[in-house]
Assembly symmetry: C2
Homo-oligomer: 515 residues x 2
């Protein structure tokens, strides 16, 4: 596992460290004050690309208060006091984290990190919320019950799948066992724990906790992160089914079975803080509706949904909402824009869906880094963070060795090159190309890509992908939406304009543990 | 426009021509009897790849009777009689077409085609059904009415989009004008015409007509073709909005405004017949439901749909349906398989949709040309025809010049090649690679591709794309479906196995006119 220098531990001197803390309040200041820090914050010296988001809107009040104004000050206090910080409850500070940095203070000499040793501020939470994923077994249970089948029917129905039913239950038990292990480990340390499922996980629960632990895979981690706006409240992922789930965003799998060890490392500061940059979105123009739609909504019937939706939009347009509205979400992985019906598998759509809708691609205009607008037609577009560069965006953009081999063969033929097309070369080229699509979660830049671009007599586009600081999209769609981390959706129809960018104040605090 | 030799006009002699006609009854026989014909039928000499589908099932009776047993015989009669054939009504033949081949007979000497002159059997339909697309204006009208808004509300709502409302109406009028032109041209020739919209277009209407004309874009052509199972009933596409629609499957755009000219060419046989191969699907295993779901279904509410669906599946499984069932559809473009919820924009899903569902990719096992099964995880898979190779499949698989440039740069660096990376070379390589993804609609082979394949610690796959005669897919999905030409969907969940292949008896008869 590669470790990136964290804001709080990777700095070389007290001065730049103070600057680092300060930077948490005002990034630009810190970047100016400490070039080294700027380097740490923005690998590849991308300062010139950074955007300040001075635009504010009423919608911003939708966000829970950030601890920014409070935490760094408190961190410095704790540092000088040299004693473990009391839990936030004791301080009556609701939206802060129970960091104890004293050990970091003592270890500073050794924390230079130049020896590549792990280091960091000791971290001892007092109240933790554990967000557990819904297993497939639970999912099937609920959907069939929802469809009016009895538990007995469900058993028979799943039993017909033979071994798969067994597998289904097995995965469920493995997950459940691992969640219990995490919860027990926390309670053994006298840490207050709230174990919640998706529906019980809300802002109050987040406010109550010092730290959030997601127990599931990357999907659960995204869910857990989606409600955390306090950049000093760490979100930690535990992969509860390592055999089946990749868990890019989770702790190394060994801690799934030895979570107490992870806790001890948190206490001793034997870890690195990592701020994962997140994307924010401003929406403006006509036909916009800044109200998020939870993709996990289950109760709404087609007609209700459709009416609520259209009337909502109608109302908004009557009152000529123009924005810019800062949307009340932050994307940890990606923002995807596309026609709701452009998915040809959306056969359960709740909307009137005519043939041409099902076949309709997404039409929009794009401007990157304040450049000219360009017309696009495609199966959608994806704007991701460094974190998301390993996720969907990677699968959209990576090339197969098969394609690389054919491309090199063609080039070889055209230039009658003496190019030995060995397996090794093809693999090396493929890997290098695909690796170039990945970048650090801490870099405040975005990777933009058009999904399955359509170029024809009517449409043609030059821009297909690249790293940018700002992406603006003007919708020419008729039934489109903008989906954040696959979990929250916003209408995005003709007349609406989205400004997509990264503000370092939105970063999510996570931890890195060594394997 | 490239013209492919048609079954009825491209042959070099009476003998092979007779064989061609015979071949319409039994392809394999003809192929054996006439190597030349086999060449014509299977460019690239792919005979060895052809599959015989001897498997039949009750579901096959779902198909309208094919004219196979009748038409060729009749064509031969007409040929010898040398007189224009009477309309099928006169003959009381319901599922045939009103071909008149006499002119072809007289022209046979000149129809050698070796001079590259267009040729073909004269074609004079007596009853034509015109299938008109639903314009966006009509679509918006219906969806808002559906959502309980008045026409007045709709006007205000769309008016807010400013110029776009105007554009919307303009496109609607252009389409309507062009449809009228086609209908009038037909009636001026004393041809009986039925003008229908999606919902009035059914098997009876198809049976009534000698020929089907789709008035819209490629989507409308797919809809029109979806109900035609008589391989002697031509389906002809007219592009009613050439400025906005590509219309790969339609006549050259000039005939949109001069349809009478097209009719005269049909009469004189100045065109080529083209049989576009189509894909058939056999479904077997547990958890299958051979009942198609029309993606344009509007009335079903979430709960109804969900119940109908699940209970249907439950019932099927109870009665242990095992297949193989030949599904009652044929794919002109493609068959797509994927999780219903794998679209991250499906925020109007009618099903309980949990986070992990939204993030869930599709899991399945694939075997091509009866090879070993291979596990796959991806955003779905696409199996297309030569016709479909220019459609969605092309957008999934084509590479961007940008990618080709980077790949060549990397290779150049690794091999320290003296490779001048000129714009020309990069464009040439890109075009040649992308062109290799296209093939003739007449070739009885399929192009298979994995969409956004996911390779990780848990999953890895070697097979990503290629030309095959047979693709078998075993579902490991939990809420997946198989979508044919974006218009018809079938459940495709864990336990179900699909055999996807081409049978030349399913080919769709279309015409090729010169620009």
């Amino acid at each position: 596992m590669t470790c990136y220098p964290g804001f709080l531990c990777g700095c070389r001197c007290a001065a730049s460290r103070a600057a680092a803390l300060h930077s948490l309040l005002k990034y630009q200041t810190a970047a100016a004050a400490s070039p080294l820090l700027a380097g740490l914050l923005v690998p590849g010296g991308l300062q010139r690309r950074l955007i300040t988001c001075s635009r504010l809107s009423p919608a911003e009040s939708l966000l829970p208060p950030l601890a920014a104004g409070f935490a760094p000050q408190r961190l410095l206090q704790q540092e000088s006091s040299g004693s473990p910080g009391p839990g936030p409850s004791a301080l009556g500070q609701q939206s802060s984290s129970g960091f104890a940095l004293s050990r970091l203070d003592q270890r500073r000499g050794r924390s230079a990190g130049s020896e590549g040793l792990p280091c960091g501020g000791g971290f001892r939470p007092t109240r933790v919320v554990v967000v557990a994923k819904t297993t497939r077994y639970e999912f099937e249970q609920q959907r069939y019950r929802y469809a009016g089948l009895s538990e007995e029917d469900l058993k028979q129905l799943l039993a017909l799948k033979g071994s798969n039913y067994g597998g289904l239950l097995e995965r469920h038990y493995i997950h459940t066992k691992n969640v219990e292990h995490v919860v027990d480990s926390l309670r053994n340390e006298q840490i207050e724990v709230r174990l919640v499922k998706r529906r019980e996980y809300d802002e109050d629960t987040v406010r109550w906790a010092d730290a959030v632990i997601s127990a599931g895979g990357d999907g659960t981690m995204l869910l857990a992160a989606s409600k955390v706006f306090d950049r000093f409240k760490p979100v930690i992922g535990v992969n509860t089914d390592p055999e089946r789930s990749e868990g890019h965003l989770c702790l190394p799998v060994r801690y799934t079975h030895s979570f107490p060890e992870a806790l001890q490392k948190f206490y001793r500061g034997e870890f690195r803080w990592q701020w994962r940059q997140r994307i924010r979105i401003y929406l403006e123009g006509t036909g916009i509706n800044p109200t998020p739609v939870d993709l996990h909504e289950q109760q709404l019937s087609q007609e209700q949904h459709s009416r609520a939706h259209v009337n909502g939009r109608f109302h908004d347009q009557r009152s000529e909402v123009s924005g810019p509205h800062l949307l009340p979400v932050r994307a940890l992985n990606e923002v995807f824009i596309g026609e709701s019906l452009s998915s040809r598998v959306n056969y359960k759509s709740c909307k009137p869906s005519f043939k041409f809708s099902l076949h309709r691609a997404s039409y929009y205009e794009v401007s990157v880094d304040d450049g000219p607008w360009e017309k696009q037609k495609s199966s959608g577009l994806n704007v991701c963070t460094g974190t998301g560069s390993k996720a969907w965006s990677y699968n959209i953009n990576k090339v197969a060795t098969q394609a690389v081999e054919e491309i090199l063969k063609i080039a070889k033929k055209h230039e009658s090159l003496n190019l030995p097309l060995s397996r090794e070369l093809i693999q090396k080229v493929t890997n290098e190309y695909n690796d170039s699509l990945l970048y650090s979660p801490e870099e405040p830049k975005m990777f933009f890509s058009i999904r399955e671009p359509i170029a024809n007599r009517v449409f043609s586009s030059s821009l297909q992908r690249g790293f940018f600081s700002k992406v603006c999209v003007r919708s020419r769609c008729w039934d489109a939406c903008m989906v954040v981390d696959g979990g929250t959706s916003f209408e995005f129809n003709d007349g609406a304009i989205a400004s997509i960018l990264i503000n370092t104040e939105d970063a999510l605090l996570t931890v890195l543990l060594e394997e």
